[in-house]
C-alpha cells in the first residue's frame, strides 16, 4: 500500500516535471524542473531497494551534472535570446511521433513481456552484492568506464580551452 | 622539491597566523568604549557644533561683520549686522556693532572651522559636541540663542578656536602641544 502511494506520487512528480522541462521556455526553469525529475527518479531507486544508486543519482545527476548545466546556462546568458518556436507542421509531427513511440513501447511492454507472472526474488540487493558484481563480473567494463571518463575529461579541456 | 618546501612553509605560515590570533584572543586589552555610558574623549581641537562666546561681563563678542559667512565654503552662515548708540550697559554686544540675526545651518555645515579662523573678535568657536542627530531638519538650524547656549554649556571645555582663550585650562587641554596664537581676549567664565 505504502509503495503504491509512493509510486503514484513519484510518477506524478517525475512525469509532471519532465513535461514542464520540455515545455518551459526559460532554460534555467527547464533545468530546475529536470532536477526535480532526477530527484523523483532517485526516490524511485530508493523504493526499488537500490539505496546506493539513490545516493549516486543525487550526487552525480543533481549535484554535478545539473549544476554544470546551470553554470553553462548562466555563463551563456541564454534567456536574452528567444528560442524560435518550432513551426506548426514540425511540431505536429514531433508530437505524433512521440505518441507513436509511447504506444509502441507500452504495447511492447504490456504484450510481449511476462514480468507480472514472474515471482519477485526476495531480499534486496545489498551494497556488498553490488560491489562484488562490479569488481568481479564487470571489472573490465568498470576499467573501460574509467578510461572513458579520462578521455572525456581530456576532450572537454581540449574543446573548451581558448585557442591562443 | 621546492613545491613541497613551499607547501610546508605556507602551512607553517597559517599556523603562525593562527598563533597570532590566539595571542590576541587571550591577552589583548579591549579597546571598545561603552559609548552611551562611557564617553569618548575628544581631541582638544575637535570641531563640533559652533558656539558664540561671551566676554567676562556676559556681553556678546560678535560684531556682525559676516566674515564667517563670506568665508564659509558651504554658505551655511547667515548674519545680519546692526549698530546701536545705546550705552554699554544696555547693549547686547561688547561693541556698538552687533549681530541682529546669526544663523548656522548645521545640516549644511561641513565643520571645516574656516569661520572660526576668520572671526576678527574670536567670537565664534567650536565645541566638542558631536551628537547632532535630529528628527526634524529644522532643528538643525541654530540661531544666536542656541549658539550662546552652546557657549554656556561648553565654555570650560576645549574646542576648535577656544583652546587659547582659557590659559588656566591650557595645560590640561593641550598636554605638550603649544597654542598656535596668543589669546586676544581674556578667559571667560560660563
Amino acid at each position: 500500500m505504502t509503495e503504491w502511494i509512493l509510486f503514484i506520487v513519484l510518477t506524478a512528480v517525475a512525469v509532471g516535471s519532465a513535461l514542464m522541462m520540455v515545455l518551459n521556455r526559460n532554460p534555467v526553469h527547464a533545468a530546475l524542473w529536470l532536477v526535480l525529475t532526477f530527484l523523483a527518479v532517485a526516490v524511485f531507486f530508493l523504493v526499488l531497494g537500490a539505496q546506493f544508486l539513490f545516493a549516486a543519482q543525487i550526487i552525480i545527476y543533481t549535484g554535478a551534472i545539473m549544476v554544470l548545466f546551470l553554470f553553462v546556462v548562466m555563463l551563456l546568458n541564454l534567456e536574452r535570446e528567444r528560442e524560435p518556436i518550432v513551426t506548426g507542421g514540425q511540431r505536429a509531427a514531433a508530437v505524433a511521433l512521440a505518441f507513436a513511440l509511447l504506444a509502441v513501447l507500452v504495447i511492447a511492454i504490456a504484450a510481449r513481456t511476462s514480468f507480472p507472472t514472474m515471482a519477485m526474488v526476495p531480499g534486496g540487493i545489498t551494497l556488498t552484492d553490488l560491489g562484488v558484481a562490479l569488481f568481479d563480473e564487470w571489472l573490465l567494463p568498470f576499467e573501460l568506464a574509467s578510461i572513458l571518463l579520462l578521455v572525456a575529461m581530456i576532450g572537454a579541456i581540449a574543446l573548451a580551452r581558448r585557442r591562443t | 622539491m621546492s613545491a613541497i618546501g613551499n607547501a610546508i612553509r605556507q602551512s607553517l605560515a597559517i599556523l603562525k597566523g593562527m598563533g597570532v590570533t590566539l595571542r590576541h584572543i587571550l591577552r589583548e586589552p579591549r579597546v571598545t568604549i561603552q559609548y552611551p555610558e562611557e564617553r569618548p574623549k575628544q581631541s582638544f581641537r575637535y570641531r563640533g557644533i559652533h558656539q558664540l562666546r561671551l566676554d567676562e561681563n556676559g556681553k556678546e563678542l560678535c560684531v556682525g561683520c559676516n566674515l564667517c559667512g563670506l568665508v564659509c565654503p558651504s554658505e551655511c552662515i547667515y548674519v545680519e549686522g546692526a549698530e546701536t548708540d545705546a550705552p554699554e550697559e544696555a547693549r547686547v554686544s561688547r561693541y556698538e556693532r552687533y549681530a541682529l540675526v546669526y544663523v548656522i545651518n548645521a545640516a549644511r555645515c561641513l565643520y571645516c572651522g574656516y569661520c572660526v579662523e576668520a572671526c576678527p573678535t574670536d567670537a565664534l568657536a567650536m565645541t566638542p559636541q558631536f551628537e547632532l542627530g535630529e528628527y526634524q531638519k529644522r532643528n538643525c538650524i541654530y540661531d544666536k540663542e542656541d549658539l550662546v547656549r552652546n557657549h554656556r554649556r561648553w565654555a570650560d571645555q576645549a574646542g576648535y578656536g577656544i583652546e587659547w582663550c582659557n590659559p588656566a585650562k591650557l595645560e590640561e587641554w593641550t598636554g605638550d602641544a603649544k597654542p598656535v596664537g596668543p589669546p586676544s581676549h581674556p578667559a571667560v567664565e560660563p
Binding site: 510518477t11 520540455v22 531507486f45 551534472i65 528560442e83 505518441f99 526474488v121 553490488l130 564487470w138 567494463p141 | -
Partner: protein, 100 residues
C-alpha cells in the same frame, strides 16, 4: 507491491517525454537535457529489473550509465560552449555545417 511493469511503463513515459523534447526544442542545452532525461528513464527500468531478478547486474548497469552520462555532459557542454563562442547562438538549426 507495485509490479515491475508499472515502473517500466513510467520509464517508457519519461523516455517518450525525452524524445519529444529532442524533437520539439531548438535550444541545444534543452535538447541535451532531454537526452539526460532519456538516460534516466532507462535507469529507472534497469532498477526495476534489478529488483525483479534480485541481481546486482541491473544496478551495475545504472552505474555505467551514470558514468557515461557524466562523460557525455562534460564533452557535450564543452562542444556547446565552443559552438556558442563561434556562432553566438545555441540554436540547433544554426549548427548545420560541420565547419565554422
Amino acid at each position: 507491491m507495485v509490479p515491475t511493469i508499472a515502473y517500466v511503463i513510467v520509464s517508457a513515459v519519461l523516455f517518450t517525454i525525452g524524445v519529444a523534447g529532442v524533437l520539439l526544442r531548438r535550444n541545444a542545452l534543452i535538447v541535451f537535457m532531454s537526452i539526460e532525461l532519456m538516460l534516466n528513464a532507462v535507469n529507472l527500468s534497469l532498477a526495476g529489473f534489478a529488483r525483479q531478478f534480485g541481481s546486482a547486474t541491473g544496478q551495475v548497469f545504472i552505474l555505467f550509465v551514470l558514468a557515461v552520462a557524466a562523460a557525455e555532459v562534460a564533452v557535450g557542454l564543452a562542444i556547446i560552449l565552443a559552438v556558442f563562442r563561434h556562432r553566438d547562438t545555441v540554436d540547433v538549426d544554426n549548427m548545420n555545417l560541420m565547419k565554422w
